[in-house]
Point group: D2
Chain length 352, copies 4
């Protein structure tokens, strides 16, 4: 069966590059159009000199001519699917315009995450919300913010125990700020205890993702627990580590919680998708893990789903509070391949 | 008036070096004896090649011959005051032995912190507990663990508002592990979400420091709120940053809390001590401070009290929870000079 | 055909781990014995907690019981081939003892590199020297020091132009010092302009590798040019970068030299070996490459030969001097897989 | 005597900030005007939020209103002395315009370094070239590029031995690129073997500085030896370390060369200037020094001349080649305070 051509919006940025990487030799999709800023229009991707990944830029993608961020031009390229890594201000208008032209937009950008008709989707957590776009021609589906994604997965695991409140402090890698991003003078041998708008995103996104879905009305509910985040940048290259504490409705044993993490599985329809990890959560029993150095790629360096599992460790119980550490790959699990996984779910359901 | 000769126990380690630095040209004390491991006995300090600070080793200290960690030998050196940076296993016995011989021991080691007759002292927080050693000949006074110290100072400031519970995630510098300490392969472009025994120390020490003191019985009470820490090593050289959240008994405004931080003062008898900072808490109103790069030395690079203030920033209120960021110098505020400040308080009261 | 069982000597260190990694699913060899320090004798490898690589420890290797570094015990295990990552002092005796018992030792250790009857082998550079061990039963073959290896390959490329003298300053990663290796306090946001014995090794090893081989007498000659190194540790994880300047016998154009680098090929019998890179030298035409971040794995992350190519860039000519930058993977090209490649060459010639 | 008011051109950049720091409480000069980009005109310095140093912005400087980079406006401020940290393109015109209006410009910018009538001045090395501006009303004096400065000082020391050729590889800190400067994704756990135009500057500037001066014609000669540099950025905050090799006209002993370094003194008229270091060269006899961590501030953290000495170590002789390591503070010795020292020399001679 012919692969579906897709556009990448914001193709020259860090997340755009991760989209290209995630779509290399993809079984369902192939890159047919690359959208960058208007000033680059017409130039070849490979001539921008923007490729910053250790993996190789696929030759045929490098030769594509760049398109300006204009809905008509994107539609004219013939694609019916777009992956968006646009800056928020550009995404706000363009993504809606593309949806209006019948294009399915899978976005990594924050602009429409909280819109009522937009699924905020992490397939391992709330796959049923993809139902919101059934029978629609053009639509937007978003993934969550990178630091939200890493948190939402283990919260899903322990949600059956009853969550009252969530405290979280983050240790976020520099790649989360894009390129050029964080100046080295600001972060070398230093940490920055502030990331613009990050805490606000975590607070609200987690509630939309974990609140539940009503298939009849095709609407999501918001969870009724609060998230209290402190977001901090640290000098690591890739990966957001988070120190989490959850107030549960009652005391549970460490053993019970660890077994929940170790036994967690994706829904069957998600598990078979190309970019879905074998195990969405990897629990580490060592006393000092997960760590960026060892766990950010979650053990599958040569598989399409590398970097898509969330690693969890150090479960500690104190009264009805449970603390743990998580780590997820911010530009893989929490960005482009996460969005590709969303598209795979829509594709497998026949929505595309 | 003649300065009092003091011994430094564990003089070749990182904290021992900070003791030497903190006592250089000190108005009350001068280094008269250096104690290191038995195998170095008799050698000159300057020949050990262990000095790792950017500041200079004072020449006359460098020429002192090292003494073995033996109570008789230390007592024979004629000192009546000792500063201890010993490893815990050595400290456990030697500090008691020295006290039994009439020596006042000011210790940075954990061994005796929780002993009933030992003040766990941060002069800006609980100066009255020094009263426990009045009229004693030999005794032990300890400072708190480095990560505890940074936390206890701002908690003292907001304690009048009513503390129910404390959540804290740390970003601790490598110097906290001594030398050679953390292997570079473990921490370069990485974080380690585990520091042995650190969380246990924070949990219990904060309670002893902030519980109150009864001058009649000369005993301390333990605070009745719990501390929930997650301790993490980050690739910074000096300074422990902490993301703190305190559950208060009722909602307070950000403004009120910031004004408490900005208005906080040390007790008068503490303020005039040589190593006491002018302001024990420096509140930063910038959105992204404090940071190791700018705040670890707390703005006084050429003063005896450099690195002795705790920097605080980012007060955020959510219901009756308040979050903030703090930073304190782990090998200054939280170690040797902190212990020197304790000795200055005892000296100024005439206990030495 | 049955794979040949091999022993790994010094199996728990950094290089030993790279040997295990390099031999996973190897077409010629399989790990049959693991040798560690005597105090670990009898314990399972997986229980040592020493595995520090991001890749997984193969299960069957993890379950092997450790053998003490004793020639009789190693021989009793039935292996006839051994890869050595021993500390120099242990290697000095044990490698000779094993050879005397008829075992072929492929060593990464410096102890016997300069011995007259030992090939100092980099197959892409001096494959013919393997002839020294033809018809021998037990013998030692060594690879070169990690910083020597990266240098010898491009020197081989330009040797036909006539080398008078070589100047080189290195930028060597921390993994070169093993684990725990370099303390983080020594290298974080710092460089160390000294690596013990490293300069001496480069000076002499390059001469033995590039001097030529006489098949009749089975002896090597030493090159008559001098190497002047300055070896410096930098805070990178893997990879040794080197700034090289070569005084040639006459002036050559940048173009000519770049074409030599781009056209360089391994000898045919080397090229087909499993761990040999497709191209032993990858020339980067970008102005600012090679770099550790992008080039240390030399573009083949999922192939047995990843990290085995040497990257070269920035050719600049000034009179009859040519400057260039090189980068090679110190624990891959310059260590264990380099030694495995040596064994593959011996195997393919039927010497094993 | 009243202090002379000075302007700082390019006051908001990293070097501009170092000028402000270097002039705080200066005995000869005080900051009277701050020049920044036109878009900031009229605003207060303290409101730009650009201060990036750990030291404090002096209050009275923070309150000054910014002036646009216009010669008339600068002259109208009444200053007759200006320190320039302008970007090259702005400096090219403005510095000449200011000189034409009778202003003495001490510049850290490259634009006019090679002009025939402009001294390229490092007082410890070629103080006599200041004579070029005697009896002039307006003029330009420049300091050298940061990596040139560190090299020129020790070359001056050994120049009497006869220099044939100089090889140098650098390890340059990120602060050399200004702010925001080097993106953290480019340098964290990485090195960049390329710094735009840096090698060209070193090659030519060293020759102008060390070639000699003819007081009669007031002209400088160019040295006749060549410099072969490889310039590399490393993840250190402040300080340029350089691995140097000098081909001498004949073989000299290590001892002789070390004694030259240890005995080197500034000319008497330079030594007494406020920003001149006590010893312009500090030779370190430890095997692994100098290092950024310990030597960048050259041991005088609380003195006006901190960071103004060049540290040298590891003298090694091989034939008539001598290798050594040097370290100098790129934004102190090699930038603003270096330029302030130049102005102090002109002031002390009565040229201002």
């Amino acid at each position: 069966m012919a692969k579906k051509k897709v556009a990448i919006l914001g193709a020259t940025g860090m997340v755009g590059q991760r989209f290209i990487e995630a779509l290399t030799d993809h079984p369902y999709f192939e890159v047919g159009a690359l959208v960058a800023s208007a000033k680059r229009e017409g130039g070849r991707y490979e001539d921008t000199g923007r490729w910053k990944l250790a993996s190789r830029l696929p030759e045929e993608v490098g030769k594509l001519a760049l398109i300006a961020p204009d809905a008509d031009k994107v539609a004219a390229s013939g694609v019916r699917i777009a992956f968006s890594a646009l800056p928020s201000d550009v995404a706000a208008g363009l993504e809606r315009d593309l949806a209006a032209k019948g294009i399915a937009v899978f976005s990594n950008t924050a602009s429409h995450r909280m819109d009522e008709d937009v699924p905020l989707l992490i397939p391992e957590v709330n796959h049923e919300t993809i139902g919101m776009v059934e029978n629609k021609k053009g639509f937007i589906v978003t993934n969550a913010n990178c630091s939200t994604t890493g948190l939402a997965v283990p919260l899903k695991v322990i949600q059956p125990l009853g969550i009252r409140r969530v405290f979280v402090a983050t240790y976020q890698a520099i790649s989360g700020a894009g390129y050029p991003g964080v100046p080295s003078l600001d972060i070398l041998a230093n940490v920055i205890p502030y990331i613009g708008k990050e805490e606000e995103k975590m607070q609200i996104e987690v509630k939309k993702i974990l609140g539940g879905y009503d298939p009849g009305s095709k609407t999501v509910k918001y969870a009724d627990f609060e998230v209290h985040p402190s977001c901090v940048r640290v000098p690591a290259v890739d990966g957001h580590l988070e120190a989490v504490e959850v107030e549960l409705t009652e005391r549970r044993s460490e053993r019970e919680i660890i077994e929940l993490f170790e036994g967690f599985e994706s829904p069957k329809e998600v598990r078979k998708l190309p970019t879905a990890p074998q195990k969405p959560v990897i629990y580490r029993r060592e006393p000092d893990r997960p760590q960026h150095r060892y766990d950010v790629d979650a053990g599958e360096p040569c598989d399409r789903a590398w970097g898509m599992a969330v690693s969890v460790g150090r479960v500690r119980v104190m009264g009805n509070f449970v603390r743990f550490i998580l780590l997820s790959h911010n530009t893989r699990r929490g960005a482009a391949p996460g969005s590709v996984l969303n598209a795979e779910l829509a594709y497998s359901r026949g929505y595309l």
